[in-house]
Symmetry: C2
Subunit: 333 residues, 2 copies
Amino acid sequence: MSSQPEPGAEPGSGRPDVLVHRLPSFALPFLALLRDHFTVLDPRTDSPDEPAHAFLARRAGRTRALVCVGPTPLPADTLRLLPSLRLVVATSAGVDKIDLRECRRRGIAVTNSGAAFAEDVADYAVALLLDVLRRMSASDRYLREGLWLKNGDYPLGFKLGGKRVGIVGLGNIGSQVAKRLQPFSCDIAYNSRSKKPSFPFPYYTSVRDLAANSDVLILCCALTEETRHVIDREVMTVLGDRGVIINVGRGGLIDEKELVQFLVRGELGGAGLDVFEDEPNVPKELFSLDNVVLSPHSAVITPESFEALGELTMSNLKAFFSGQPLSCLVQGE
Amino acid sequence: MSSQPEPGAEPGSGRPDVLVHRLPSFALPFLALLRDHFTVLDPRTDSPDEPAHAFLARRAGRTRALVCVGPTPLPADTLRLLPSLRLVVATSAGVDKIDLRECRRRGIAVTNSGAAFAEDVADYAVALLLDVLRRMSASDRYLREGLWLKNGDYPLGFKLGGKRVGIVGLGNIGSQVAKRLQPFSCDIAYNSRSKKPSFPFPYYTSVRDLAANSDVLILCCALTEETRHVIDREVMTVLGDRGVIINVGRGGLIDEKELVQFLVRGELGGAGLDVFEDEPNVPKELFSLDNVVLSPHSAVITPESFEALGELTMSNLKAFFSGQPLSCLVQGE
């Protein structure tokens, strides 16, 4: 790389500052890569004994770019400590922990990393759907408990082919889900903020109408004020007692209390849930249900995808500091 | 249907005989459909107290067609009781319980039902592969045991995209597996009795060479004398400690004792097993492994597919009795 200061570099430094904002439990797998190109401010390692807000006030007043790691909250209170901030690069697909309204008010650009995660999340959505329909986790338990030998065959599951699959959110992830489901002979339809003319699938303006015409709903949309509890009592009712819900978005997309009741009463056919409203708490009523597959927010990534995530993060930071267009801009509120 | 006797009908009857050959635990879901068109001989219901061989000797001497249900054995001893037999319609995909050599010697045509099962089995193969790679059954167990809350995140699995997938047997099922895996960006290759020019995938003449160039092997071939233990110590060794084996064929395709040792010693990356050498016995050493998904021979069918199975069976029986060509003929030994 050039040894010349890049535009936006701090005085006295050859490299611009990038602030790494993260929960203690979330490491950044490509921190070394970041350090090759930027002066990385990381309160967790630079000054572990100092409260984060004190570090920010002391050290990050001129910082223009921040990498927000995973689900780390970035509320207005924190943003106020960063008066020069102009870019937030989120390493997650969802940005519901970032105060997008405050970012928009301040003219701070926000990018997400959905593009780097889309394949893994889409794979997982298909896997959850197959698992729920064909009862794979349940029959794996059945075998490990020695019940095949003792009680005979496990009940048959259901066929994926021919199912009407409604995708809620046809963005990076949703479109990858659709692509994967086509060779399984599913009938795909979708709901999204707007019709996507580049896709041949029927478009429904409301999730309720999509549900009324679907056997399966797959939730791939962002959690916003508009989409919170988009899967409510009414949607579950029209989806019906053979209907299946797959959630690889955010727990808050579903009214979880209602979902649990529908599943416990047998008023839904099944659910594959990678996300929950109050993680890592999972409603215990679901633990005894064989038509439910539970997963600890694992859809998002595999080790193989960290490289793509690092590349996307680096490319947006470099674009920002050289005045080039950003990719994966979040359409904030 | 015509009220005229069909060709091959028994004297004195308007309809030809069809013998239903089945284990007591295997019902035929479309028995009523069969009775609409044929005189069904079913020792299990017609004469439940009589030994099956006595019933056959007494009643089936002129029977020309037999429906062999699921994994019911059809050995030479039984075939000898049926001197007029000219057709065996197997309602299963695999015909390893049928004495194909004796059938060939006697000029008895054998058809299988792989075509009706192919979609469900292919779906299941993809599901097992995703489950093994992404650790879904294991992480579902982790949640149900309350360990997410107690121990934190479950380890990340592995990405499907980019994996080199070797399909052993590119017939009805294998080709459906390939079609499903393409949008996941897998690199597909195969081994089969012969090269299939209609498919664009690289062909390997030996399973060993396929394994040496694959991250995943998916077994979709029939169990024959040639394919018994086709996955042996050498194949597992070249597949290596990150390699994954998916078996939706028959348990006997794998040297199961060796497989267990490879998995227990960590010399294979994982396995998804729907079939076993001595069902319903499953090697207990596998019960503690999170990189293994176990399933009670469930790949084969869903309730939604029974209709297709009934149609295929009926169409072959009707073709036989009217001198038309059969579909899904088994290439016997």
